[in-house]
Symmetry: C2
Subunit: 134 residues, 2 copies
DNA sequence: ATTGACTCCGTACTTAAGTACGGGGATAGA
DNA sequence: TCTATCCCCGTACTTAAGTACGGAGTCAAT
């Protein structure tokens, strides 16, 4: 049955180390299912999804504390909290997208300029990001 | 004159710790100006810009090794290298933008749904990211 | 000429995020 | 049944990215 995983298979499904799962549990990012007396814990696809979410969010530059904020939203919160957390994250996310799109444009230009050429190229990558940074 | 900084003022301008600058120099992310015999090194705005760039790139989820790749582009490279590095980074950047925009949409929905409401809200944040992840 | 702030450099410590290890228990297949 | 493989849990180690520390030299203003 695909609805009941041991920690090992969960780890495989979510493509992380078993120890990482236990680490997330300690950090309260992932709940620890009750242990059947004298036994082995069972996990679900919900756990797997949450782990993958954590990993994705990390790639986007969020630290585990920030990921915890995001997960708090997922877990259901009162509106005032939601507005505060979500509003703040929204600003962060948008800022990041802006910066990324600047880098993206520059990379595109660079690759294009380069195509079929075999000399040296130099690009104003930094300057361009800067104009937004200032 | 604004064109000649000591490491201390450079640190202030770039909003980092002096030690961080020295650390970046060790990591070859930032060049170390020649030391006038028996003396104190002088930095320029170019250094400050580069440091700010490093910091921005980090916020976007790039590690220092990846930042080094980006800086290699800035520093001028042969076309084959540029196409390789830039092309690869471009894919990464686009992937990140996609993920961010998913999170963004969800946050917007969440905040909107919440507005003027005072109960509890729950959101399918994870599920949405997931659909892209899979 | 002296003092206070700053630089230089090497070494060591810290924080975040894992990873690894090891003893002891459970469990499933030969 | 026995043995291999996996789980549980605590403790300790690792890696990336800084930060801090301390002694010795330097510079600028008093």
């Amino acid at each position: 049955m695909t609805g009941s995983l041991t920690i090992g298979t969960l780890a495989k499904q979510a493509a992380v180390n078993v120890e990482t799962i236990r680490f997330y549990q300690r950090r309260r990012l992932l709940d620890e299912p009750d242990k059947p007396p004298g036994g082995i814990r069972r996990y679900t696809q919900t756990h797997a999804r949450r782990i993958r979410f954590i990993k994705e969010a990390q790639k986007l530059g969020f630290g585990l504390d920030e990921v915890a904020d995001l997960l708090a939203l997922e877990d259901g919160r009162h509106c005032r909290e939601v507005e505060e957390i979500a509003g703040h994250k929204l600003a962060v996310v948008r800022e990041r997208m802006t910066q990324l799109s600047k880098i993206e444009k520059l990379l595109v230009v660079l690759v294009g300029r380069c195509h079929g050429n075999s000399g040296k190229v130099r690009c104003p990558l930094i300057a361009s990001l800067e104009s937004a940074t200032a």
